[in-house]
Amino acid sequence: MIRPYSSSISPPVPVFDVVLSAPALDDWHGPFIAIIDSGADFTIIPLIVIQALESPAIRPAVLSSQWRDRHAVYVYKVDIRVGEMVFPAVDVAGDPGSDEILLGRNVLNRLDLRLEGPALRTHLL
């Protein structure tokens, strides 16, 4: 699968289309554009999307940046589909303050990706 970078952010950013469901319900929502973010420990999904999925919370956690600011969040279980690949019951952080999906390393480390920067496109191998 090949996906062009998104130009909604400058410089353009690698993205994938993802489809989401509460675990094992097969009630898929999307597709949503997810930013490929290897700087994020976890995948982060807007809370409003998680609430629409009716995904279950499994623990509280703290969302932080490299400057150590701290925001209380909950971690939820979500099924994530990227292309033909389905990742069941992934731990994701629900973000009450953002409308972006960040595909973090807990998902990226299970994908074989090639970032073809000069052509502004991502290959899912």
Partner: protein, 141 residues
């Protein structure tokens, strides 16, 4: 709005005096709502109206209670389950696994939609998720 008669006693109690409540329009009967680390004080009539201004998520409240139980037992659980995921239900560890997905499947099968805390047992009692991706705001279109 400046609150008056708001005090924390040496014993650690938070006291909100009558003047402060009156100034906030809360001098009558009130309800306390404790949720997600916050305490809200609302007029009882408002709380009982059809349109609940602060809907209480019972699932999250139970997850918070399980987290409190987990934190109270954290040092002991760290000795026993470091590096694993545990499932905590009604204050007790009911299952554990190195694989979060496998643990989730068993918990779901056994407890259905009941709130069950599933957490990695780490040095810190509450997991910190770091996002090292600052954005240059002037470049957002």
């Amino acid at each position: 709005m400046m609150l008056k008669e708001l005090d924390v006693t040496p014993g650690g109690e938070l006291i909100i005096g009558h003047a402060a409540l009156k100034e906030a329009g809360l001098a009558g009967r009130v309800q306390l709502i404790i949720q997600a680390g916050e305490i809200r004080i609302v007029p009882e009539a408002e709380f009982e109206s059809d349109a609940d201004p602060f809907p209480v998520d019972k699932h999250l409240m139970q997850i918070d209670r399980e987290q409190q139980a987990y934190e109270a037992q954290h040092s002991q659980l760290l000795e026993e389950y470091a590096g694993q995921y545990i499932a905590m239900y009604q204050g007790e560890v009911v299952d554990h696994d190195e694989d979060s997905g496998g643990l989730w499947q068993r918990v779901r099968k056994r407890y259905g939609k009941e709130p069950v805390l599933i957490t990695p047992v780490l040095q810190e009692a509450r997991q910190t998720i770091v996002v090292r991706s600052p954005r240059l705001l002037e470049n957002i279109r």
